[in-house]
Symmetry: C2
Subunit: 307 residues, 2 copies
Amino acid sequence: MDPSAVGGLASRLMKGDRRALSRAITLVEDEPRAAALLMRRVRRARGGAFILGVTGPPGTGKSTLVDKLVKKYREGGSKVGVVAVDPTSPITGGALLGDRVRMADLTLDDGVFIRSMASRGWSGGLSRAAARVIQLMNAAGYELIIIETVGIGQSDIEVVGVAHAVLVVLMPGIGDDVQVSKAGLMEVGDVYVVNKSDLEGADVMIVDLLSMTRGLGSRSPSVLKVSALKGEGIDGLVRVIDALRDRLRKGDRAMQLRSTKGMIMELARAAETERFLRMAEPRAESLTEKVLSGELSVEEAADRLLR
Amino acid sequence: MDPSAVGGLASRLMKGDRRALSRAITLVEDEPRAAALLMRRVRRARGGAFILGVTGPPGTGKSTLVDKLVKKYREGGSKVGVVAVDPTSPITGGALLGDRVRMADLTLDDGVFIRSMASRGWSGGLSRAAARVIQLMNAAGYELIIIETVGIGQSDIEVVGVAHAVLVVLMPGIGDDVQVSKAGLMEVGDVYVVNKSDLEGADVMIVDLLSMTRGLGSRSPSVLKVSALKGEGIDGLVRVIDALRDRLRKGDRAMQLRSTKGMIMELARAAETERFLRMAEPRAESLTEKVLSGELSVEEAADRLLR
């Protein structure tokens, strides 16, 4: 895009123009230079959106649940943005996000903006792009922005690190594979939802989660049972999310810090990794030769690469 | 561990002492300083192991297939090391690797060394640890080292980047979720296996893979149908792996470069990320405050963080 056109795009976006937002997101994904310019243009927009991260193992019904939430918030009149992120996509190719067609009825609604994003290389770039898309949606006046990931790996956790609050979606029967009690998961959630609540083991899972969250002291996450498909427990979940949103509205410092620091760190880390790869790639070849000839060990070569 | 004891540990390891190898791997995971010392001690060991990466979506039967391969190679007399890596583990907590107990009969065999590793924080640290464990196994005289990942995200691909050759395990029926044709997967594999070959759709998948690999020109990966559980097609797979191993033995330059460069890059990137986090963390807080007060945008704060 011509740099001179970026200003006009930014103004249209800040007036809430959907097409401008769509075009702006494409810039963020495909044109780094124009994107940097654009981000500078929208920096003064203060949207005040509440950013909700949604994560959890594949197959737990995150997308269906997000759909229900979007509908509820639309009934309440809020403009809702959804960023669906697939950090694992070199393989899945973002195909897991294909089920977004389910949301067709939502995409006809002008107050809803849904965007799927998949990694086109290294995962750091995706975190940055997602952080920027959220800023753009915020500038365009979206009041609730949901950032949803398809998996629950390290990079998923980084992706939801830009949220004000995080909803973790689980389901009965995954206890065998996914030990919730282990490091990481219990640190990340503000709300834990056991979806598909009609499946056997839902209550046991709730009890387990309650006993685990009790150990977390003052920061005590909510634990809820829902059935996204049947629409059960959604109102209760909305109330819990509203309470979190209210906390942000009242100026909750911890929430503001978390999201803003998350954004800064993701943007900086992405730039740092790019810098490293740009610096390292051309020199790695000759260092590799030195290792193969026995002149250096791989550890020594790595040390030299960093100098 | 006392630094003065590292030398003795390294010598015992290079003589093939299993306990020493086990202790050394724990050092690599838990004691960075002693680990660095240890890596310097084993650097002169030239094992010449063939490193095979095994990756693919969860549930495709990678572990079962690896078990069969290990047994076959033991019958042939090779010492085999297996590093099973779970980069998604902040959530799964490495629990997915729990099914390694299946391998109990293998662990009684002195010529087999199996180690499961899970991320204890950021995924970069795990890639480095895995690269070091492979070097240790190599120094201890293991001739075939299999590095297996549980998923198929970006970090899994980084993990197998240290291998000489990569085996991608697929199964019929995952085509709906996992579009093999997308960027990434077709770049990474030297061998594609359709496991659970008795399931419907196996032949169609083989045909699809063949037509896709045909487009890759000179670098034409093998495509095979197996049933790990029934032991079908394993001999054919072993022949394909043997051919790759032979290529390395005969000094295939591309293979050597790939694995060695992968090791160097993973080690360097891990150190770089650590450096960044150490530098950024203490400064991020005050920059976040400046963003919240409206003095800076998040993009500007990220720029400052990098200066």
